[in-house]
Symmetry: C2
Subunit: 198 residues, 2 copies
């Protein structure tokens, strides 16, 4: 001990300090849209692109949230609200830690998304509406959920038996039935460069 | 668009990929001990040292958890258990994102800490017992909580009216009444180097 010249700092490391270490700012990319619209695919593709460019990024989606932090929550309305609230709070921690965090969840209600937005500085919350006609989503049906929902096996399924509230004023709209994934990723990265986050 | 040569990767970025980008492994430093033992002070000092050395680190403590993610939880036993469960799950996300995350919470029960440990690979969970006699903690009483607890104003206060279960087999023990903070920080950093995490 004693040879690494450690000195105690009473102050905590700030978000700005972390931005300087990472050489980019942090923000949340909040991907919202119907099941099958391509949110998680796009979020992971953006994350991979950011990683390859040397930026610090991370993805929150059903794969790492549903069976972990939110494993105690059902799909009932009050639990869906709590689901989004927790994801918003965890996204805030990641932004504070200096990451560009991509959160990919249906998040169908404007009010819930607005509550998450209010956790952040204005320029830190970037709402991305992953827009795709429901018949295309239903045709893709990657997890077979629309088939089950049409049979009435899944109650309150967004777009079928529960509403999806289209974002009022999203920062970015990506139409996944019109763009290739690479083009969609480029649109997001271009936005981050334009806003001087990268 | 089209000038940044982005190519879509179907695979998600892995934890190992992130280790390579950061040039260190990730883990959780789980600081447990009585109120006033110095957990949060030490966690922040370790975090600052790691930051200055260029490593990616972050702190989870009462300041950023209690009023955010866990603002819906009380201090009742079932809520204290849920408090620790959620912090464990968030720590896991940070470890997956490539961070050395320092979690500083009393976490008085061996069973709760064991559940958190089981979320991780064996070498990823580093339990640090922040050891300090209760009379020293009570003497420090930085938030005036012991005074209130002795008056009976705080029910189930750890060490007074609720037990603190000493860790069975912690990876590190730091005696904050015997070491200077710089020495404590060095001991933690030395452990991380010895285990090839740094």
């Amino acid at each position: 001990m004693g040879n690494s010249n450690i000195t105690w700092h009473q102050s905590a490391v700030t978000k700005t300090d972390r931005h300087q270490l990472n050489r980019h700012k942090s923000c949340v990319l909040w991907f919202t849209g119907l099941s099958g619209s391509g949110k998680s695919t796009l979020a992971n593709a953006v994350d991979h692109a950011l990683f390859e460019l040397g930026f610090r990024s991370y993805v929150l989606d059903g794969d790492n949230i549903r069976h972990g932090l939110n494993s105690d929550l059902s799909f009932r309305p009050e639990d869906r609200k709590e689901n989004i609230r927790r994801i918003g709070e965890v996204s805030k921690l990641f932004v504070d830690s200096g990451h560009i965090v991509s959160s990919a969840f249906i998040s169908p209600f404007q009010g819930d998304r607005e509550l998450v937005r209010q956790l952040f500085e204005p320029e830190e919350f970037i709402e991305i509406f992953v827009k795709c006609p429901i018949d295309v989503c239903e045709d893709r049906d990657p997890k077979g959920l629309y088939v089950k929902a049409r049979k009435g096996e899944i109650p309150e399924f967004t777009g079928i038996s529960s509403p999806y509230e289209i974002p009022d004023n999203p920062e970015i709209i990506i139409e996944t039935n019109k763009l290739l994934i690479d083009q969609s990723v480029e649109a997001v990265i271009a936005y981050l460069r334009e806003k001087k986050i990268l």
